[in-house]
């Protein structure tokens, strides 16, 4: 029976129970929320309070040449500092005198660091006079490891601390300096291969972490260490000895010719590997400030120029494959200055009567007029296609800031450029692009993409080679053979024949003289960007050499490059022990009919 009297307490109990349950449920919900739903978040938050960690820096990888000679490496130097306070405390401690009294220690330290001992003692005394608890007196920065060892062996680490600091060293100085690039003060790669292959060179920092309890005491067993992974070693295709010779030689030649600058590029025919890429003026990445900042990049890859006559063989290839022209027929009549039907006026570099030029003759005499007549035997689109096939408008090795050069579409060719494009004007290339074009001719018409980086070796020894360069048969082997024969005739019958002779070797060569834009839409008067390109030996082409001079003044024409080209080719043959030519040259090709 339920009476009023019994009902009231029971209801009260039920209500109380319900309240308790509700509160309990709220707690359970909160508990689940904390322990399960947001557990990770809270754990992370708590770890933040008690976890400490220090980064372990990894070392940046080195850059080596094709033979493994180190071109760039990271080493530790040490920055020394003193704690005058500790020196004072040690000296004042009569009961427990230091093993090496300051008077003697200071002399030894000064001796190793190359300081004046008297001055060192005076500095410490002055620091102490100013503040008896002075803890920081900077000494020499950038001590070598040898000095670090000597100083460490003094066993005075209680007041002499030496912090390691990573610096980049380029053992060969300016050799390949422009290719290597440099690292700025904050350790960022700013140019060259340092920037180009940052992915391989950059280290991954490690970390040493631990948890601390009250007062920063490390909780035992909480330490964990992730080792740093050093950067990989980048191997270049460059031969540093050849590179040195080319830089030395082009610097001398450019100065002899009164030029503003010069470059040499050497490319291996069979592989497309760049074996030397020298330029002057140059920079030494060890001492950037010694050179002006416009030499800090690589002009070789970033400066495009109108190649001029060096691209006449490309026009020749187009007409030989598409208009049935051979080395000796048909011929075209050309004088040294002609006005064409569309109004264009084309000049040759020298005055001559009207000749019946063969294609070979037009190349040997480098006649712009004859080439204009030959070149227009095919449509502009065909020539555009050939320029593209030979690499105009395509970057070579993706060097930082590398230019692709400029190739206008045929729709933009006007009356004048319809003809000037047959002899290397109205488009621009870089020296490596020029080398690439001749690599195809030397390699039987098969163009192989240029390469500068051989491989990346990771710290665990894995060798990662970049994607293989593209191979493409851009002209028929017979066309390439005919071009080679004509280019050998250019070398032998051309105006520079004696100056470019490499005794024992049959060489090809072609000169180029480009006008330099004056920045106001016109061209600079009387000064040119001259170049010479060729390969050797003709019977088994091994290396392509390109030499350029920027505004030579002693001889302003492309003849200025002859001596540099001859030296570059000779040294390349010698460096790679290329066997001299064993077969004699074919009969000379007739220039005229």
């Amino acid at each position: 029976m339920t009476t009023r009297a019994t009902r009231t307490p029971r209801r009260r109990t039920v209500v109380a129970l319900a309240v308790i349950l509700a509160i309990l449920a709220a707690f359970v919900v909160r508990l689940v929320d904390i322990q399960v739903v947001k557990a990770d978040e809270h754990v992370a938050q708590s770890l933040e309070f008690i976890s400490k960690g220090t980064a372990i820096p990894g070392q940046r990888g080195s850059i080596v040449d094709a033979d493994g000679a180190v071109l760039a490496e990271s080493v530790n130097v040490y920055d020394a500092q003193l704690s005058p306070q500790v020196i004072r405390l040690l000296e004042e401690d009569d009961k427990n005198p230091p093993a090496l009294p300051w008077a003697e220690a200071s002399t030894r330290i000064a001796e190793i660091m190359g300081l004046d001992a008297e001055k060192l003692r005076a500095d410490v005394a002055a620091a102490l006079a100013a503040n008896p608890d002075s803890q920081y007196l900077p000494l020499v920065k950038g001590l070598s490891t040898e000095k670090y060892i000597q100083l460490r062996d003094l066993k005075v680490s209680s007041y002499l601390t030496m912090k390691p600091r990573e610096v980049r060293v380029y053992p060969n100085g300016a050799v390949a300096g422009n290719l290597l690039g440099y690292i700025d003060g904050s350790g960022e790669a700013q140019a060259g291969v340092e920037k180009m292959d940052e992915k391989c060179l950059a280290p991954t920092d490690g970390e040493e972490s631990y948890r601390t309890g009250k007062n920063g005491v490390v909780i035992p067993g909480s330490e964990s260490r992730v080792d740093a992974v050093d950067g990989g070693a980048v191997q270049l295709t460059i031969n540093s000895d050849l590179q040195w010779y080319m830089q030395q030689m082009i610097a001398e030649e450019a100065q002899t010719q009164g030029a503003k600058g010069g470059t040499v590029t050497v490319v291996e025919v069979a592989t497309g590997k760049i074996r030397a890429a020298a330029e002057w003026p140059t920079m030494d990445p060890n001492d950037l400030d010694a050179s002006s900042s416009d030499t800090w990049g690589s002009k070789l890859f970033t400066y495009p120029f109108e190649p001029g006559s060096t691209f006449k063989p490309v026009t020749a290839a187009a007409i030989m494959e598409n208009a049935g022209v051979t080395m000796t027929s048909p011929t075209v009549a050309a004088s040294s200055k002609e006005k064409f039907a569309n109004g264009a006026v084309i000049n040759d570099a020298f005055v001559h009567p009207t000749f019946q030029y063969t294609l070979a003759g037009a190349l040997i005499d480098s006649s712009n007029v004859a080439l204009s007549k030959f070149g227009t035997m095919v449509s502009p689109d065909v020539r555009y296609d050939y320029l593209q096939r030979f690499g105009v408008g395509t970057r070579t090795v993706e060097f930082p800031d590398e230019t692709s050069g400029l190739l206008h579409p045929t729709s933009e060719w006007d009356n004048q450029s319809l003809y000037t494009t047959t002899f290397g004007q109205y488009f621009t290339v870089t020296a490596p692009q020029l080398a690439g074009a001749y690599q195809a001719i030397a390699n039987g018409g098969e163009k192989i993409g240029l390469s500068l980086i051989e491989s990346c070796t990771t710290p665990d020894g894995t060798v990662v080679t970049p994607e293989a360069a593209a191979h493409e048969q851009i002209i028929k082997p017979e066309t390439a053979a005919d071009l080679t024969r004509m280019l050998e005739n250019v070398a032998v019958q051309g105006g520079n024949a004696e100056r470019i002779e490499v005794p024992g070797y049959r060489v090809t060569s072609k000169t180029g003289t480009a006008q330099i834009p004056d920045g106001n839409g016109g061209y600079k008067a009387g000064v040119y960007y001259t170049s010479m390109v060729g390969f050797a030996p003709v019977d088994d082409p091994q290396y392509v050499v390109v030499v350029t001079l920027d505004e030579p003044t002693r001889v302003t024409s492309s003849a200025a490059t002859a001596s540099a080209f001859q030296k570059a080719m000779t040294q390349t043959m010698k460096t790679y022990r290329v066997m001299p030519s064993s077969t004699p040259m074919d009969a000379l090709l007739p220039k005229f009919e």
Partner: protein, 195 residues
């Protein structure tokens, strides 16, 4: 309910004789002769425990010893790394082509022109075989010298501690080369075997 219900019921005491045949339990008649525990088992157990203990101590000693060895080896490794770095730093710059070229130029060597090759098997000459002219195609000390800031502090070919070579002066090095003559030829010029 009445309290009677809780009163203990009188135990029914069955008649002893009637249950006798079912009785299994026997009165204890005497203590059985206790067998003497075998000492060997005890010894084995104790020895086993001791052996386990000993092995454990031995192992932990070995591990501790190993960690000492490891520590000393890694400090040795660190020391050797430092020495290697120090020695390599000495070579930095000196190993450069500039340093080699200036050294060679100081000895009077030149970068000559076109090469020629002599085939040993038949004495054939490849190339022009003209001798080198006295002039070098480049001058490593001239106006075109390729700079190397690392060589500025160190004179080229400067002697390091245990290197007795005097700095690259022509006399000093010539003197040394005089001491180190090539091996004397005793069996005639090296030549291919002919039949």
């Amino acid at each position: 309910m009445s309290l009677n219900a809780l009163a203990p019921r009188p135990r029914s005491q069955p008649d002893a004789p009637s249950r006798a045949p079912r009785r299994r339990l026997q009165p204890v008649t005497g203590t059985p002769v206790r067998r003497k525990p075998k000492l060997a088992y005890a010894l084995i157990a104790v020895a086993g425990a001791l052996a386990i203990g000993a092995v454990q101590i031995g192992l932990s000693l070995a591990i501790t010893q190993d960690s000492f060895t490891l520590a000393s080896l890694s400090s040795e490794q660190h020391e050797l790394d430092l020495r290697t770095n120090a020695l390599q730093e000495d070579l930095t710059g000196l190993s450069s082509p500039q340093s080699l070229a200036t050294g060679a130029a100081a000895l009077g060597m030149v970068v000559a022109g076109s090469p020629a090759y002599l085939r040993l098997s038949d004495g054939a000459i490849f190339g022009q075989g003209t001798g080198a002219v006295g002039a070098s195609t480049v001058d490593p000390n001239g106006a075109g010298a390729v700079s190397n800031a690392l060589l500025n502090d160190v004179p080229v070919n400067a002697s390091t501690e245990d290197d007795a070579t005097p700095d690259g002066t022509a006399d000093g090095t010539a003197e040394q080369s005089a001491q180190e003559l090539p091996p004397a030829i005793t069996d005639g010029l090296p030549s291919p075997t002919t039949r």
